[in-house]
Symmetry: C2
Subunit: 142 residues, 2 copies
């Protein structure tokens, strides 16, 4: 279940609030569109919902929080997610789609299992080997 706190004002999830006890966060852009698809709900929202379902099924779900975000500023290479966690490099992955949900959750759980956020390239699910948009070092390395 996605129990991300909602903003009282807008009903939109408060970005960046990790689930207590989860060592890493999978941020999912819910405003991403896959052009020329103009249908609602948007591809980003559908991908998020598929990731919540994949997360529920994952045996190591407790390692990870799945948090929806409105725009990760990667609109041209949607759909988009980010992996983040204390002491870890932050990774933004693009060129995704709702069908990638299971692979991305599996990759995020691997990420959560590292101390520094660096998952060796060969160990990553196929969908996460290409489409790296950016990475940023931790402010406070573990």
């Amino acid at each position: 279940m996605d129990d991300t706190p909602l903003s009282a004002a807008t009903g939109v999830p408060r970005p960046g609030l990790p689930r207590p006890g989860a060592p890493a966060t999978l941020f999912v852009c819910i405003t991403c569109r896959l052009a020329p698809d103009e249908t609602e709900p948007r591809a980003g929202r559908r991908m998020h919902d598929a990731m919540v379902a994949a997360h529920q099924r994952h045996p190591d779900a407790a390692r990870l929080a799945v948090v929806p975000v409105e725009c990760l500023s990667n609109c041209n290479r949607a759909c988009t997610v980010a992996f983040a966690g204390p002491g870890r490099w932050t990774y933004v992955h693009g060129d995704l789609a709702p069908e990638a949900a299971d692979d991305v959750v599996a990759g995020a759980v691997l990420y959560a299992g590292t101390a520094d956020g660096l998952v060796p390239w060969r160990q990553r699910p196929e969908r996460l080997r290409k489409g790296v948009i950016s990475r940023v070092p931790p402010l406070f390395p573990a």
Copy 2:
């Protein structure tokens, strides 16, 4: 002076270690190249060095640490920087060049002056209005 700690093993700066007391960090990719320029030092290194100089001249330098990084994974839209700080959204900016150093440092100081990392678009230096590569929410909002 750039007093970023260096790795004992490699002499390469330890990424992500903010200067004590600086509320925000400007990460600068020193491995970026501007194709077809193959000269050394690379454009990223030259941009970093120009930013260290711009930072020294800035009256609000104490707000910011300038930290070199080997690869922010935005090679196709070099040169690249990231703005990060506790409680703040992390921004990656690309399509930069050594000549942008003063503007980027000015923008990073504005970023450092916010609680959440959100600098209104109109207040940003021109070079930072385009070229946003990604943004990621804070894990622990301020």
